[in-house]
């Protein structure tokens, strides 16, 4: 659960605190890094195109699933409160295990004893789910969006190949901001 925070990263996070739009409330148990990541989690949604079949209908919720370990806590709920994308209100769902039928649009795979991050990612492969992972180690399992810390800021890598496999289109606007982009191998 503990995350290593470098001194350089701390400076960057301090700078980010001025530019974030969401955080009004503060939670002592969630670090600035994760508050940023919680915001990023729903803020990437407008830049990804889901097929229409991924939604039940107009006004059906946009489900953000947090699988396993939840680093965001109430911060995420506060951030998405009253927000939505293309008329679909955000709904945060915390689950231990995920499957193809979990109804997730975005899945943050935190990993649990019952379902590791790799398994979780595997479970939704081929379904219209934007998988998000986190982790500094090079061998850490990677979803379509993978948060990294670069030059003291929270950045993300994007795996367009994986997105394509899940039937998702990533906006070029987002790709431009990505730390790294993996494309078709």
């Amino acid at each position: 659960m503990a995350r290593r925070v470098t001194r350089r990263g701390a400076w960057a996070l301090l700078a980010l605190a001025f530019s974030l739009s969401a955080a009004q409330a503060f939670a002592e148990d969630v670090s600035l890094e994760y508050r940023v990541k919680a915001a990023y989690l729903y803020k990437v949604a407008p830049f990804v195109a889901w097929p229409a079949s991924a939604f039940g209908g107009a006004g059906s919720p946009f489900i953000i699933c947090v699988q396993g370990a939840d680093p965001f806590g109430a911060e995420l709920d506060r951030a998405v409160a009253g927000q939505g994308v293309a008329g679909h209100p955000f709904l945060v769902r915390r689950i231990e295990t995920v499957g193809p039928d979990s109804g997730c649009h975005i899945l943050y795979a935190g990993g649990s004893r019952r379902q590791s991050i790799v398994d979780a990612l595997h479970a939704v492969r081929g379904t219209n789910v934007l998988t998000v992972t986190d982790g500094e180690r090079p061998d850490a399992p990677r979803g379509i969006v993978h948060f990294v810390i670069s030059e003291g800021r929270v950045r993300f890598d994007i795996d367009t190949q994986a997105a394509h496999e899940n039937g998702l289109e990533i906006s070029a606007k987002l790709l431009v901001l990505a730390h790294a982009v993996r494309s078709r191998r």
């Binding site: 001025f18 530019s19 974030l20 990437v44 949604a45 293309a86 987002l174 901001l177």
Partner: protein, 588 residues
């Protein structure tokens, strides 16, 4: 003499004022429309500029979404910097949802002109991330100035055009005024000129009148003298005839009286000829033969100390002339030559052909008849005057001044011209150029036998004559010739007599040409020609304008005064001609 019309000026003042008004109006309309167009253009430009700035803000808002939501201010700054490449943009700001400045760019605002400010929401799929603010200068002054300099230039040109037109207009108006003034002066000058000319004409008329009086005076001196002489001969001859019964002596006296009368007739012929209104009786003749016939006449009219030589080319062309006028001309020239040679000399009469002449009025073939004397000659300054009527160098009583006038009148009437050359002390040459005739020579009629011509009864003759004295004489003459005369004093009376002549016993009509009444002799002759085509008519006149017309119509004409032989011959000839005509018409 025509009066100069006052010139009409095309550009009157009113017209030029109206034109000026139109031009100024047009120019003002042009400028106003230019300004209106510029204003409209400016408005469009402004609206378009606002749209353009809006589009730029839209682009920024759209492109900065990700940077604002999941990027960093540095990412957003990239987009802001891209916009800053546009020099018109003064201020760009990107705010997040909490209205905090996220990225910005600004440059010093331009001093002049308005600004365009645009704010756009930054959102993606309904999710709002903040807003962008964009401020640009409305339009750089330099660019606007450049844009409207065209309109300005147009307005300037229009103003310049108006100025030039006004200047041209005023100078034209001034020129017109000057022109009008000059036209007025010219009209005034013309009027005074007309007055002067009228006065001059009066003066010339007076001069002509006095010249005429002078001429009449000279005529009185010359002609009257001659007439007195011949009247003297006639009256004294008659007196002497009354006092003698000797037939020989009476015959001599009769011849003397006849000669005096012939001279009088010749004198009046000269007078008529010089006035060039003598009835010409032209015929195509052989000049050489005529001159040969005159040799004796010429020698007799000259003195014994004067020799006449004839040099006539053998192949002379025929000419169409009045033979009696020719004879008169030759005698006149010869008499002048004689008087120019008081101590005797030679007169050479030469005639030759001059083909294809081209000398002033003389164009074509001419026969030159030149009479040269060896006399004292004519001074150069007098040569042009010798043909003037009544001009004479001789003392009163010796000449009438009509001789060369007759010669000149005759040559001109024959279609030719007269050339005089003289060398004082050596002699004078007077040359008559007479045009060649293409007609054949007419045989000269043989003179009627002298003496008692009549006797044999010749039938009835209708005499038309208004003058009682002449009528009585002519009646006596025709009776003498064997005719039975019926007299009418007017043309109307003559036609009446003709109506009464049911049995067509009238053989010939002998009529005067000038008579009182509605109809003259010529018209009477025509009328008779219509009513009685077989009745011959002979006309007679001393002088008349109608005489030329009569000969032109082929009428028989006997010129007064005439002798009984001439009358007999003419009447015989006309009857013979009619008889031949009738015979020719009737088949045998």
């Amino acid at each position: 003499m025509t009066r100069l019309p006052r010139p009409r000026l095309v550009w009157t003042k009113a017209a030029s004022g109206r034109n000026l008004f139109v031009i100024v109006g047009l120019t003002i309309a042009l400028i106003v429309s230019g300004i209106a167009m510029a204003a409209y253009n400016e408005q469009l430009q402004q609206a378009q500029r606002v749209r353009a700035v809006g589009v730029q803000a839209d682009i920024l808002a759209s492109s900065v979404t990700a940077a604002l939501s999941v990027g960093t201010p540095a990412d957003a700054q990239e987009y802001v910097k891209a916009l800053a490449a546009n020099p018109d943009i003064e201020d760009v700001r990107v705010y997040d949802t909490a209205n905090r400045l996220y990225a910005s760019y600004s440059r010093p605002a331009h001093a002049s002109g308005g600004h365009i400010e645009v704010t756009r929401r930054v959102a993606e799929k309904g999710q709002v991330f903040g807003h962008v603010y964009l401020r640009t200068e409305a339009e750089p002054l330099a660019r606007r100035v450049a844009r409207y300099s065209g309109v300005g230039l147009l307005a300037l040109m229009g103003a310049l055009l108006v100025a030039v037109l006004i200047a041209a207009q005023s100078s034209l108006a001034r020129a017109n005024r000057e022109l009008e003034a000059r036209a007025g002066e010219l009209a005034g000058a013309n009027e005074s000129l007309l007055v002067e000319m009228a006065e001059r004409e009066k003066a010339e008329e007076a001069l002509r009148q006095s010249q005429k009086m002078e001429a009449i005076g000279k005529l009185t001196g010359g002609v009257a003298h001659d007439f007195n002489n011949l009247l003297m001969v006639a009256s004294s001859g008659l007196d002497l005839m009354d006092r003698t019964t000797d037939p020989v002596r009476r015959g001599v006296l009769r011849d003397g009286i006849r000669q005096a009368l012939e001279r009088g007739a010749s004198l009046t012929r000269q007078l008529l000829s010089f006035s060039r209104r003598a009835p010409l009786n032209p015929a195509t003749v052989d000049l050489a033969q005529r001159i040969e016939n005159m040799r004796v006449l010429l020698e007799r009219s000259l003195r014994e100390d004067i020799e006449v030589r004839l040099r006539l080319a053998p192949d002379l062309w025929p000419v169409r002339i009045d033979s009696s006028q020719l004879e008169l001309a030759l005698v006149n020239i010869a008499v002048n030559a004689r008087d120019a040679m008081p101590h005797g000399g030679t007169i050479v009469v030469a005639a030759e052909n001059h083909p294809a002449m081209d000398d002033g009025e003389l164009k074509g073939d001419f026969v030159r008849l030149a009479i040269t004397d060896s006399g004292e000659g004519i001074p150069d300054d007098l040569i042009p005057r010798v043909i003037e009527p009544f001009f004479t160098t001789k003392e009163v009583g010796r000449g009438t001044g009509l001789g060369l006038s007759q010669v000149y009148g005759f040559t001109r009437a024959s279609g030719g011209d007269l050339r005089i050359s003289s060398e004082p002390g050596k002699g004078t040459t007077i040359a008559l150029y007479i045009p060649r005739s293409t007609e054949p020579v007419v045989e000269q009629p043989k003179p009627a036998p002298r003496g008692r011509a009549g006797g044999k009864a010749k039938g009835r003759i209708l005499l038309v004559e208004d003058d009682e004295t002449v009528a009585a004489l002519v009646t006596a003459m025709v009776t003498e010739l064997g005719y039975e005369p019926t007299r009418a004093s007017t043309a109307a009376a003559a036609l009446e007599a003709l109506e009464k002549d049911k049995d067509k016993s009238l053989q010939v009509v002998f009529s005067d040409m000038v008579m009182p009444g509605a109809m003259n002799g010529l018209e009477l002759a025509r009328e008779i020609g219509r009513r009685r085509p077989d009745l011959p008519v002979v006309l007679t006149t001393g002088f008349s304008d109608a005489a030329a017309a009569a000969t032109a119509e082929g009428m028989r004409l006997l010129v007064k005064p005439y002798r009984i032989e001439a009358l007999a011959a003419e009447l015989d000839a006309v009857r013979e001609a009619k008889r031949l005509q009738r015979k020719g018409r009737k088949p045998h």
